[in-house]
């Protein structure tokens, strides 16, 4: 959308401004919270333009990556127990657990369908006599679409919710001793829904940023200025898409359909109020309720193949993929071990794509 006359010059000026701002100062660590931001930063090699004392680390901004193995196993369990059509997003379908993924089940003859949107799953349900289950992942950006699909009220359509609210995870991140955060670059797409207001209670400098390289650099300039001046403020660089109130209609449907619970995240542990189970009112569409009996003997396990995978630390921004001994050795985009290497929004996958060594 942004049509700059001279992108190169703007990027150069912004990086010079950042150098000027950081000159002679101590180290500053900024965390961004969106896979698309990591993509912009890696694609344009923005880290190479930053002053040495300014670090931009990647946080838990990839919904596929933070979905813990337990949720995945629950979906596999349902597939094995019930004759359902299981629908999910393509990224999710490749995440392995003990070498099995949705694609593995598909290859074994199970009815797994990859969908681009929940509305595709709804269409499948309308034309089928079988129960159609949507394995729903994603943050506030994605939840309203699942909510609308539930509200459409198609009888044989069910949701297995692995949706998570993102904002509680930001507060949770600040509680880790090994995680240093001087400021957040807030996730742009989540913000279009929740609005600027959703971040006001978080007491660190924050900026909501768009996804062009100059958006990210401008947002960094705004953030670094605030950090240097000791101001705990919340700024919005992405004014073309993010309003103070956010998308109220989306917030309403989300609240109508989903409740809140304390759910686990990969890498973060249990995050208070971050889980989005279906409200009781909609239990007829809740796969957990409708297939309750099938889950009675469900017991999640640990995947021993992931023993050496350091996704958790990558998701907390404590290490970069280069610190993982498996990166581009045992673990590659073709043969991923952890979720962060599977998803296009995963930090390991993005680093593999733009790897410059």
């Amino acid at each position: 959308m942004l049509k700059l006359r001279d992108r190169r010059r703007t990027i150069k000026s912004l990086s010079e401004e950042l150098r000027r701002l950081m000159q002679g100062g101590g180290e500053v660590t900024v965390m961004h919270l969106c896979g698309t931001h990591e993509d912009t930063i890696s694609r344009y090699n923005l880290r190479s333009l930053l002053p040495e004392n300014l670090k931009v680390v990647s946080g838990p901004g990839c919904p596929v990556c933070i979905t813990p193995d337990e949720d995945l196993q629950r979906a596999f369990h349902l597939l094995e127990k019930e004759k359902v059509t299981l629908t999910t997003f393509g990224d999710m379908a490749r995440v392995p657990f003990e070498g099995r993924s949705f694609f593995y089940y598909k290859s074994k003859g199970y009815d797994v369908r990859i969908v681009y949107s929940v509305f595709d799953a709804l269409e499948i349900a309308k034309e089928s006599d079988k129960p159609v289950v949507f394995f729903a992942i994603g943050f506030e950006t994605t939840m309203p679409s699942t909510a609308l699909a539930v509200l459409d009220g198609v009888e044989n359509f069910y949701v297995l919710s692995a949706h998570r609210y993102f904002i509680p995870a930001m507060e949770h991140l600040l509680s880790f001793e090994d995680v240093r955060i001087d400021g957040f670059i807030c996730p742009g797409h989540v913000s279009t829904i929740v609005g600027v207001k959703a971040y006001e209670h978080i007491k660190v400098p924050q900026v909501i940023a768009g996804f062009e390289p100059e958006d990210v650099l401008l947002a960094l300039c705004m953030l670094v200025k605030a950090i240097k001046n000791g101001e705990v403020c919340l700024m919005n660089e992405y004014t073309r898409a993010v309003k103070y109130e956010g998308n109220l209609k989306a917030q309403r449907v989300m609240e109508e359909v989903f409740g809140r619970d304390d759910w686990e995240w990969r890498g973060l542990g249990v995050v208070k109020n971050s889980g989005a189970p279906l409200n009781k009112k909609y239990e007829d569409f809740d796969a957990l309720k409708v297939f309750e009996d099938s889950f009675k003997d469900f017991e999640p396990k640990e995947d021993r193949r992931k023993r050496l995978c350091r996704c958790g630390e990558v998701l907390r921004g404590v290490i970069t993929p280069l610190d993982c001994p498996l990166f581009m050795k045992a673990c590659t985009p073709k043969n991923p071990i952890g979720a962060c290497m599977v998803s296009f929004e995963g930090t390991c996958n993005i680093w593999a794509k733009y790897w410059r060594c």
Partner: protein, 77 residues
């Protein structure tokens, strides 16, 4: 749509035709039907951000121009 789709991204497109709850949106020449019931008063020519088959927010052209102007001033400085 086949293959693997990036689920987290949102792509801007221009509204070509509105017929609630759907609209035809043009993404750099590729036209697709998407849900638009999260946005009120959508008109032909509006820019929207589309995520997993649904428009989640309008893109404000005035604000976009303001950001471009600001960035260009920085570029000249």
């Amino acid at each position: 749509m086949d293959g693997v789709v990036e689920m987290c991204i949102a792509i801007p497109g221009r509204v070509v035709e509105v017929d609630y709850p759907f609209a035809i949106v043009d993404f750099k020449g590729t036209k697709r039907k998407v849900r638009v019931d999260l946005l009120d008063d959508l008109k032909e020519g509006d820019w929207v951000l589309v995520h997993v088959g649904i428009a989640i927010q309008k893109v404000d052209e005035e604000e976009a121009k303001r950001t471009v102007k600001l960035l260009e001033q920085i570029g000249l400085g």
